[in-house]
């Protein structure tokens, strides 16, 4: 798998790395136990500062997607997929809560917000169950 970065993008480079590693885990390209490149190697290959890659690895480690085993290196965690899913679920609750709050501040009732969410989800549900 390749990591692609775009330094002109609005998304910070470390977040681009985090997102692509998570995508790699979800797609199966980075299976549990997969040996990650060292910080220095990835920074060198991508012409980046070591601190940028180190920050991405710290975020991934805090999300328990990767684990550092001392001198042996850094690996994809055995239950990385579960942690990514749980983290994404938490993010979804938080982001939907923020949106629901904003919508209620605009004068919509909770029933209206629920109906709006269901209407927004309907096309996705139809796509999953054609």
């Amino acid at each position: 798998m390749n990591i692609d970065i775009d330094t002109s993008s609005a998304e910070p480079v470390y977040e681009q790395i985090v997102r692509q590693v998570q995508q790699g885990v979800r797609s199966g390209a980075l299976p549990p136990g997969f040996a990650l490149p060292s910080i220095r190697q990835l920074a060198n290959d991508l012409d980046l500062n070591n601190n940028t890659v180190a920050k991405a690895y710290r975020v991934l480690e805090s999300e328990r997607v990767i684990r550092t085993a001392g001198q042996k290196g850094t690996f994809i965690n055995t239950d990385a997929l579960t942690h990514i899913h749980s983290r994404n679920s938490q993010d979804a609750v938080y982001q939907m809560g923020e949106l629901a709050m904003a919508l209620t501040q605009r004068g919509l009732s909770l029933a209206d917000v629920r109906a709006a969410f269901e209407a927004a989800l309907a096309p996705l549900v139809n796509k999953e169950n054609p």
Binding site: M1, N2, I3, D4, I5, D6, T7, S8, Q20, V21, G24, L30, F34, A35, L36, P37, S38, R40, Q41, L42, N44, D45, L46, D47, G73
Partner: protein, 274 residues
Amino acid sequence: MNTSFAYAVAYIQIVFVYGLMPAFFLRFVAHLYAIRNPEWVAQHPDFIPGKSNWRVGRWLFYALGVAWIALLTQFQRDAAAERLLAALYYPTSLWLILAMGYIGLEYLCVGRHIPPATKRSARFARRTLRELVHPGWLIACYALYGALFAAYLALFKLGRIPDFIFEARIITIAFVMVLFTLILIWGVVRKNQPGDDIFWGPSSRKFEVRFFVGGLYFGLAMFATHLARDGFGLPALENVSLFVAVNLLTQAFFLTMIIKLRRAANMGTLSVPR
């Protein structure tokens, strides 16, 4: 070994490396830096022709080639055996040193002024020596070098080789070992260059590292023949034959590089001025 044949190889080698190679090599070096950021280079079309030293470099190589041929003709006229050996390996060695120097000069004048591309990509997998070459080859190689050291030490203690030969051999062996080990490490850690794929495709790094391991074994074979001569009086490998063989292999290697560069140029991937 027929002396005329050895001289013929030396002449062809000079024509090869000083006549045919420079034009390809210098364009390739400029190309290597240009493809770091093709978009930026396209936006600044006068940058590389204005900064590159490739025309000066090319004529310098031609002039040196002519000088080597003149020198070689003089050597052949004098018919001195030790000069034949020098004629066989000095021109190529000097070419390699000059080539390395040119890469550095071109980096200072061109490469470092080209900003890195905004969109960059890298393979996301750990690179280790173990993946590029079987550890057994390296363990055996270093064990044999250890045995070589031990053999020289034993022969020295037994008084079969004089001090100055012992010191010279130990220093040379240690130098070759350290040099190749550093090159091996560099072969693993250095970042992928776009030019790598032109020569050997995606396996370029594996090829490169195995080539360096081959160099370690070649050094080992050379030192073993010296050991046989120093310690036991056995006839060492005839130097001229060895260097003729190495020169022929070098020519085959350079020819492959030229063919691959020609193909790359035909595909339009070499975008620097002719």
